[in-house]
C-alpha cells in the first residue's frame, strides 16, 4: 500500500510541469493560436528560472523569471502570428530552435553550478492521515501549484464570462467580433497567459523536478510531449491534465522497466515516451476514421462510449483573423 502511495506521489511530481505546460497550451489553443514553441520555451524558462534563483538566492523569484520568459516568447509568437499575419507553425518552430540554443548559450556560465530549489511544503496535520498523508504530506510546491492550476483553468474556461470569450474567439472569431469582442487582443492575452504557464513548467523542471542547469538539462522533448497531450486531452483542461499524469506514469514506470531489463542501455528509455506519443495520437485519431466509425455506429455500447470520448479542436485553430477584412 505504501509503495502504491509513493508511486502516486512520484507520478504527481513528474507530471506537475507537464500539467502546467499542457494547461498553458490548452488556454492558447482554445483562443485559436497554435504555440509550437513549447519545447524551447520550457528549456529557456528553466534556464532563466535557475539563473535568477541562483543569482538572487530566491527560488520564487526564479519561478517568476521563468513565467516572464515563457510569456515573452509567446508574446513574440503572438505579435508575429496575430498582427503580422505570418504562419504560426513556422514562427513557433523557429522560436523552439532559437530558444533552445539561446538557453544553452546564455546558461553557459550557470552550467552544473549549485543553486537553490523550491524544497518541500508540508500541510500541517496531513502527514498523520494514513494513505493520503503519504501522497500529499510533504510535497514540492509545484505539485500543489499544478493541481490548483487544473481547477482554476477548468473554472475559468467553463464558469466565467472571460472563459466564454476565450472559447468564442477560438471557435468563431467572426461572430465574436460581431459581438464587439476585440478578437486579436483577446488572443494575444491568452497567448501571453498560456506562455506564462509554460514558463512556470520550465521553472518547475529546473527548481523542483530535475533541479539544476546543464546541457542537457533533462527536460528536452517535454514540450513536444505536452503539445501531443493537448490533442490527446481534446482541449479540455481536466482531460489534458489526466493525459499529462498518464504520460508521467509511463515515465515513472520506465524507471522500473530499466531495472527489469538491465541489458537495454539507459539512454534508450529516455526516448521511450515518443513512440508512446505517436501511438496515443494514433489511437485518438483512429476513432475519427470512416471504417472505425462504421463499427462504432453498429454497437450501442461503443456509441455511448465514443460520445464521451469524441474530441473536437477549436474550430478556428491556427487560422488568421483580420478585422479589417470585415465580417
Amino acid at each position: 500500500m505504501d509503495t502504491f502511495a509513493l508511486t502516486i506521489a512520484a507520478i504527481l511530481m513528474a507530471g506537475a510541469p507537464l500539467v502546467l505546460a499542457t494547461l498553458g497550451e490548452t488556454l492558447t489553443e482554445k483562443a485559436g493560436i497554435v504555440n509550437l514553441s513549447l519545447d524551447g520555451s520550457i528549456l529557456l524558462a528553466a534556464m532563466a528560472a535557475f539563473a535568477c534563483s541562483a543569482t538572487f538566492d530566491s527560488p520564487w523569484l526564479g519561478m517568476l523569471a521563468g513565467a516572464a520568459v515563457g510569456a515573452a516568447i509567446a508574446g513574440v509568437l503572438g505579435v508575429i502570428g496575430i498582427y503580422l499575419g505570418q504562419s504560426q507553425l513556422a514562427v513557433g518552430f523557429i522560436l523552439t530552435l532559437l530558444s533552445r540554443d539561446l538557453a544553452y548559450f546564455l546558461g553557459h556560465n550557470f552550467s552544473r553550478q549549485p543553486g537553490p530549489d523550491l524544497g518541500l511544503w508540508t500541510i500541517p496535520g496531513m502527514s498523520d492521515v494514513p494513505f493520503v498523508g503519504l501522497i500529499f504530506g510533504a510535497r514540492s510546491p509545484v505539485v500543489y501549484m499544478s493541481l490548483m492550476a487544473i481547477v482554476f483553468c477548468w473554472w475559468w474556461m467553463f464558469r466565467t464570462e472571460g472563459g466564454m470569450r476565450l472559447r468564442a474567439v477560438g471557435e468563431s472569431p467572426r461572430a465574436a467580433f460581431g459581438r464587439g469582442i476585440r478578437v486579436r487582443l483577446v488572443r494575444l492575452y491568452y497567448c501571453l497567459a498560456g506562455g506564462a504557464l509554460v514558463g512556470l513548467a520550465g521553472g518547475a523542471y529546473s527548481l523542483a523536478v530535475k533541479p539544476g542547469w546543464g546541457r542537457p538539462q533533462g527536460c528536452e522533448g517535454a514540450g513536444w510531449i505536452a503539445l501531443a497531450i493537448v490533442i490527446f486531452g481534446g482541449w479540455h483542461p481536466v482531460r489534458t491534465a489526466l493525459g499529462a499524469f498518464f504520460f508521467a506514469a509511463l515515465q515513472v514506470s520506465g524507471i522500473h522497466l530499466q531495472e527489469i531489463f538491465p541489458s537495454i542501455p539507459a539512454p534508450v528509455f529516455q526516448v521511450a515516451p515518443f513512440p508512446m506519443m505517436i501511438l496515443t495520437l494514433l489511437a485518438v485519431n483512429m476513432g475519427r476514421m470512416g471504417w472505425i466509425q462504421d463499427i462504432i455506429r453498429r454497437h450501442p455500447f461503443l456509441k455511448s462510449l465514443s460520445k464521451g470520448w469524441s474530441i473536437e479542436a477549436p474550430a478556428a485553430l491556427g487560422q488568421d483573423f483580420n478585422p479589417k477584412k470585415g465580417l
Binding site: 509550437l36 513574440v76 508575429i80 498582427y83 503580422l84 499575419g85 505570418q86 507553425l89 513556422a90 514562427v91 518552430f93 523557429i94 522560436l95 530552435l97 532559437l98 533552445r100 540554443d101 539561446l102 544553452y104 548559450f105 546564455l106 546558461g107 553557459h108 556560465n109 546541457r215 522533448g221 513536444w224 503539445l227 501531443a228 490533442i231 541489458s263 537495454i264 542501455p265 539512454p267 534508450v268 529516455q270 526516448v271 521511450a272 515518443f274 513512440p275 506519443m277 505517436i278 495520437l281 494514433l282 485519431n285 483512429m286 475519427r288 476514421m289 483580420n322 479589417k324
Partner: protein
C-alpha cells in the same frame, strides 16, 4: 503577387539583416560577449585556411541535401520535421550495409552503402507519411517522434549489438576500413563525391519540381487537396512519394556523414543538420535558387562557432541563435511589409 523592383526587395532584405544583427547583439549582451570580436572569431574560425574551408564544405553537403529535399514535401504543404531522424536512419542503414565488409571493399561497396542509406531515409519518411495519410497523425508529431525513435535505435545499436569489442561508449562503433572512406578533395576534409551528390540533388529537385508533370501535380495537391482528389491526382500516393524523396536525400546526407566525415556510426551522427535545414528552407522562402547560398552561410557559422568556447569562453550554440534570429527577422520584416500594404489598401 505584384512584382517589386529589385531595389525595394534588396532594401527589405538589408532591413531584415540589420534587424537580425541588432537582435543578436541584444541577446548576446548579458553574457558580456564583445560583438565585433565574436564576429571576427566566427569568420576567422571557418575561413582562415583551406582546411577550415574544407570543413565548411563538409557541413554544406548534408545541409544542402536535406534542405533541397525539404522543398519537395513543402511544395505539397507538408512539414517534414522528421528529416533529422531520416538522416540518422540513412546513417544506420549505411553502416548496416557495410558491416559484412569490415576488411574493406571497392567502390561498388560504397555505392551499395549509399543506396542502402537512401532506402533507410525513405523508409523512415514513409512511416511518417503513412501515419499522416492513414492514421491522421499530424506529420509534425509523427516526424518528431520518429526523430527520437531513430536516436534511440542508434543508441541501442552502439551500446548493444554493434558495440566496439570491449568498450561501448558514446564515441560510436568501430571505425570503417580506410578503403570504405569517401575520397577526399585534395587535402581538405570534404569529399568530392559528397559535393557531387549535393549538386546533383539540387539539380534533381529543380527538374522534379519545375520540369515534370509530377511536380506540377504535387503543387496542385498542396494548393487544394479537395480539388486534387476530384481530379484524381492521387493526393495520398503523391504525398507519400514526396515524403520518400525527401527522406531518401536526407538518408544520403546520413551516409555522407558516416562515409565521409566520421567514418563510423555516432549518437550525434546527424549533428542537428535536419533541424538547421528546416530553418534554411524557411529562410529561402522555399526557393531552390537561394538554398545553396544560405546553406553555405549557415555552414560557415557552424564551423566558426567551434572556436567560440576555446577563444572567448562562449557556448558554441551561438551559431544556432544567429541562424534562428535571422529567420525570425525575415518573418518579422515580411509581416511588416504585409501590414504596411494592408494599411495602404485600407486608406
Amino acid at each position: 503577387m505584384n512584382r517589386e523592383s529589385l531595389l525595394t526587395q534588396t532594401g527589405w532584405l538589408i532591413l531584415a539583416l540589420l534587424l537580425a544583427l541588432a537582435l543578436t547583439v541584444i541577446v548576446a549582451l548579458p553574457t558580456g560577449a564583445p560583438p565585433f570580436e565574436t564576429i571576427y572569431v566566427l569568420f576567422q574560425g571557418s575561413l582562415s585556411s583551406w582546411s577550415k574551408v574544407g570543413r565548411v564544405l563538409a557541413g554544406w553537403v548534408p545541409l544542402t541535401l536535406c534542405s533541397a529535399g525539404l522543398l519537395i514535401p513543402f511544395t505539397a504543404r507538408l512539414w517534414n520535421i522528421g528529416v533529422e531522424g531520416q538522416v540518422i536512419m540513412g546513417a544506420i542503414f549505411c553502416t548496416a550495409a557495410l558491416r559484412p565488409f569490415d576488411d574493406g571493399g571497392s567502390a561498388w561497396v560504397i555505392a551499395l552503402a549509399l543506396a542502402a542509406s537512401v532506402a533507410g531515409g525513405a523508409f523512415w519518411a514513409l512511416l511518417a507519411g503513412l501515419l499522416r495519410v492513414f492514421g491522421r497523425v499530424h506529420e509534425i508529431f509523427s516526424g518528431l517522434g520518429l526523430n527520437f525513435v531513430a536516436l534511440g535505435v542508434t543508441l541501442w545499436l552502439i551500446f548493444g549489438p554493434w558495440k566496439r569489442p570491449g568498450v561501448a561508449s558514446m564515441s560510436g562503433t568501430e571505425p570503417l576500413d580506410i578503403s570504405l572512406w569517401l575520397p577526399r578533395l585534395a587535402n581538405m576534409s570534404v569529399s568530392w563525391v559528397g559535393l557531387a551528390l549535393a549538386v546533383a540533388a539540387l539539380a534533381l529537385v529543380y527538374i522534379l519540381l519545375h520540369r515534370t508533370k509530377w511536380g506540377l501535380k504535387l503543387r496542385a495537391v498542396g494548393e487544394n487537396p479537395k480539388a486534387a482528389t476530384l481530379f484524381s491526382l492521387g493526393p495520398h500516393r503523391r504525398l507519400l512519394q514526396a515524403f520518400m524523396f525527401c527522406g531518401g536525400l536526407a538518408g544520403l546526407a546520413g551516409a555522407v556523414q558516416v562515409l565521409g566525415v566520421y567514418h563510423r556510426l555516432l549518437p550525434n551522427i546527424s549533428s542537428g543538420y535536419g533541424y538547421t535545414a528546416l530553418l534554411v528552407s524557411m529562410m529561402a522562402s522555399f526557393r531552390l535558387s537561394l538554398v545553396p547560398f544560405i546553406c553555405l552561410f549557415f555552414a560557415i557559422l557552424n564551423v566558426g562557432s567551434i572556436q567560440l568556447p576555446l577563444q572567448l569562453g562562449l557556448d558554441s550554440s551561438l551559431s544556432g541563435v544567429i541562424q534562428g534570429i535571422m529567420v525570425l527577422s525575415l518573418f518579422i520584416v515580411q509581416g511588416l511589409r504585409l501590414w504596411l500594404k494592408q494599411r495602404k489598401e485600407a486608406d
